[in-house]
């Protein structure tokens, strides 16, 4: 039996919905695990992709601050094939709504001006991540496979992973691209 394909995933600025969709593969997840060695993920104990690298890296969410940029660059440097999972990773998604104004205005709105906030203030600390414009993963590092959807369907995720396991490059189209 050939060696299992090493897969790691991580999430950045997103809602975790894409990882929920990944779990929605249900029994197929167990079938996949016969061929896949699931390494670090936000839903397993291992938290960082192996230093000696994995075959497939999966990123959910967009890049919008120094911390997520770091997550993104680390994954890219440690995987051979990078999958952008979901609309935030592929396009930037909902977090890009704040690109329509300045970072300062977005922070002011979120921490001070929200209707439910009393005496709010913008958090400031040297340990906090530095905010950036919200970007899709491919605006930061190269992406090999785009898997859009909000979230992508479990069928689409299964299709992509099973094609990769079989040594083919997945070609998403039709119903698999149409996530509604």
């Amino acid at each position: 039996m050939p060696a299992k394909v090493k897969v790691a995933s991580d999430w950045m600025t997103g809602c975790a919905g894409c990882h929920m969709s990944l779990l929605d593969m249900d029994q197929r997840l167990i079938e996949l695990l016969e061929y896949v060695d699931l390494r670090s993920t936000p839903i397993t104990d291992l938290k960082h992709p192996d230093k000696d690298g994995v075959d497939v890296g999966i990123l959910e969410g967009c890049v919008n601050n120094s911390t997520t940029e770091n997550v993104c660059r680390t994954m890219r440097s440690r995987c051979k094939i990078l999958i952008a999972l979901g609309d935030c990773a592929v396009f930037g998604g909902i977090p890009t709504m704040r690109n329509a104004c300045s970072t300062a205005a977005a922070l002011q709105r979120a921490y001070v001006e929200t209707e439910s906030t009393v005496d709010g203030q913008v958090p400031q600390h040297e340990d906090l991540a530095v905010m950036q414009e919200a970007r899709a993963v491919d605006q930061v590092v190269d992406v090999d496979i785009y898997l859009p959807g909000c979230p992508p369907s479990a069928d689409a995720i299964f299709y992509v992973l099973s094609e990769l396991v079989a040594g083919r490059k997945p070609q998403l189209k039709g119903k698999l691209l149409d996530w509604h």
Partner: protein, 612 residues
């Protein structure tokens, strides 16, 4: 009309016959060959702005937009070659990179087959799985939510200019245009002011043609996917134009109303019909009420019907008012109840009036935009029959001569080539009520000019109002036979009421029955009576004064027919079920008839509804 020349063209190897003057797109779609478009709309002139319909045409140096390229004999077209698909994908990539096209936060988003967004559908069709060029977010894009019923989100706009063309060509309001050039181009209203401050009349025609979520309806935004909705044709009860509507329904709720492109006004609606007719202007009446110790209190149907029947049946004399905002079937029921049960012939129309004289031949609304001379005598369609007013403006844009004969200002004054005056004359009315009404006549000089204008025109239309003197009506009868007439009927179904002899009149009675429906008081007084029963959907001055209040249905909860100003019988389809099992308009009348010893009077009403 010259016979249409047929030309032979080849599309994707298939030989098709097209009509000279057609575009490649029209010829292909007539033959069932699908060429994707974004800026093109069957109801509008082609603009060729989105470059999505690009096709390969033999002997043409570059790809050509199918929506503007005219067919000629021997044309060879290829619609889905590698080169074409690559160009289309490139156009789509550019469109997606221009602004914020994030489908997950858009009301128009849906599946590749049922999305309300034509841009999203194209992205699915051409397998777009990422943005080749990231959107340029320098400053964001403005969002104009200044109007009450719908919102313009420029971040979703693809500058197809359908809204601009709809405003020009369909509503003929000319509010929309573009500001700036190139990548900075923005759809704008008038001199780049907010929509609320502009000349926009909120007719919503732009909303109906928008291919993306740039224009979105507040009521139906995020209220349901297109795949869950059905479209039901019906007739608007907002005014006497009776525009053809396609109601978008989801379960027992109306998401929104759209103009029926196949309808009598060709898809045109006004703010009243499209938006206001779905608003709640006052609290709804859900339960019957009777007056006890001077106060209205909720009670059972039986109790209310008994009280109403006793009060009406026991009165020395009875009369009824019926709103013009209801179907013929309601009119017949009220008439029958008064005549047969209460033995009274006093039935008066509420909030409506049809011109007393019928002039023929009657014009069709479809003819209005093609008329070359339109005379409006004694009325203001822009105010009272809005869609007709917009059609008249459309005729003006096509060089029609507009003549206004009216004393007060009208919404069409700016278009008028001539504006004549009517002189008020004292009316020697027979009844005291008629003496209150104005009447007008026309000077001899104006009359001859009016006649001359219709004689010189090829397709003249005369729209005439109420309250004109018999002299003016007589003058209109002497116009040449080519003149077609449209009465400026006030109130939705006053023409239907007139068929049954119901018109506004003075009544004098001890007891009153008021069929208010979903109408509201707008000035016309209802006389005081010792006992008043009001059947109404909304609380109002009328119900506050009543001794018995019976819940009534809204226009879209009724089933029946209305007569519009074209004199055509139009179906009013029941779109939703009323709350609290509120019965049809005639049900309480039938129940009262039974109490008053005339059971079975309306037994056949249900079948009458179908056969009328």
């Amino acid at each position: 009309m010259p016979e249409t020349t047929i030309v032979n063209i080849t599309v994707n190897g298939q030989a098709i016959q097209a009509k000279a003057g057609q575009t490649v797109l029209q010829a292909a779609s007539a033959a069932g060959i699908d060429i994707p478009t974004l800026c093109d709309h069957p109801q509008l002139h082609s603009a060729g702005s989105c470059r999505v319909c690009l096709v390969e045409i033999e002997k043409q140096r570059t790809l050509q937009p199918a929506c503007t390229f005219p067919v000629v004999e021997g044309l060879v077209v290829l619609t889905e070659t590698e080169k074409v698909v690559a160009a289309r994908k490139f156009s789509l990539q550019m469109l997606f990179s221009e602004r914020s096209h994030y489908c997950m936060v858009c009301t128009a988003s849906g599946t590749g087959t049922t999305s309300e967004c034509e841009l999203q559908k194209l992205a699915y069709r051409y397998g777009m799985d990422c943005f080749t060029y990231a959107p340029a977010w320098q400053h964001g894009w403005p969002l104009d939510a200044s109007r009450r019923f719908f919102v313009m989100d420029h971040s979703r706009c693809v500058l197809c200019r359908r809204c601009i063309r709809a405003c020009d060509e369909i509503a003929a309001n000319h509010t929309l245009g573009v500001a700036q050039r190139g990548a900075r181009t923005m759809v704008c209203a008038d001199d780049d002011v907010t929509f609320a401050d502009s000349s926009c009349v909120s007719c919503g025609t732009c909303l109906q043609v928008c291919p993306t979520g740039a224009l979105s309806d507040r009521r139906s935004a995020f209220a349901g996917h297109a795949s869950e909705c059905k479209h039901v044709p019906t007739t608007c009860m907002g005014c006497a134009v009776g525009c053809g509507i396609k109601a978008v329904l989801r379960g027992n709720s109306i998401l929104r109303l759209e103009g029926d492109w196949e309808g009598n006004t060709g898809g045109l609606l006004c703010a009243t019909g499209r938006f206001e007719s779905l608003q709640s202007p006052a609290p709804r009446i859900h339960r019957p009420m009777v007056r006890r110790d001077g106060k209205l209190v909720e009670t059972s149907w039986d109790d209310a019907i008994n009280a109403a029947a006793r009060g009406l049946g026991g009165a020395a004399s009875a009369a009824a008012f019926v709103t013009s905002r209801t179907v013929n079937e309601t009119m017949i029921a009220v008439l029958e109840f008064l005549n047969e049960v209460l033995k009274s012939d006093q039935v008066s129309l509420l909030n409506g009036q049809a011109p007393p004289t019928e002039l023929s031949p009657r014009a069709k609304l479809r003819e209005v935009a093609d008329a070359d001379c339109i005379v409006v005598v004694g009325g203001d369609p822009i105010k009272h029959q809005k869609a007709l007013g917009y059609l008249i403006r459309r005729a003006f844009d096509r060089q029609a001569r507009i003549i206004i004969i009216e004393d007060s200002e009208t919404g069409l004054d700016a278009l008028a080539a001539q504006h004549m005056r009517l002189s008020a004359i004292s009316h020697n009315g027979r009844s005291p009520f008629e003496m209150l009404r104005y009447s007008y006549h026309l000077s001899l000089n104006d009359l001859s000019q009016f006649r001359k204008a219709t004689e010189e025109a090829q397709r003249p239309i005369v729209a005439y109002g109420t309250d004109l003197s018999s002299g003016v009506y007589a003058a209109m009868r002497t116009l040449p036979a080519k003149a077609h007439f449209l009465p400026l009927v006030l109130g939705a179904n006053s023409a239907g009421a007139a068929r049954y002899g119901i018109e506004p009149r003075g009544v004098d009675a001890d007891a009153l029955f008021v069929m208010a429906g979903d109408d509201l008081p707008d000035g016309q007084p209802i006389p005081e009576a010792r006992f008043t029963v009001v059947q109404a959907a909304w609380q109002s001055r009328w119900t506050e004064r009543a001794d018995v209040v019976l819940p009534g249905r809204l226009w879209h909860e009724k089933r029946g027919q209305m007569v519009n100003l074209e004199d055509s019988l139009r179906p009013v389809v029941q779109l939703t079920e009323p709350p609290d099992q509120i019965g049809a308009d005639w049900m309480p009348l039938a129940m009262m008839s039974a109490v008053l010893g005339r059971p079975g009077l309306f037994a056949s009403m249900a079948s009458v509804q179908g056969s009328l």
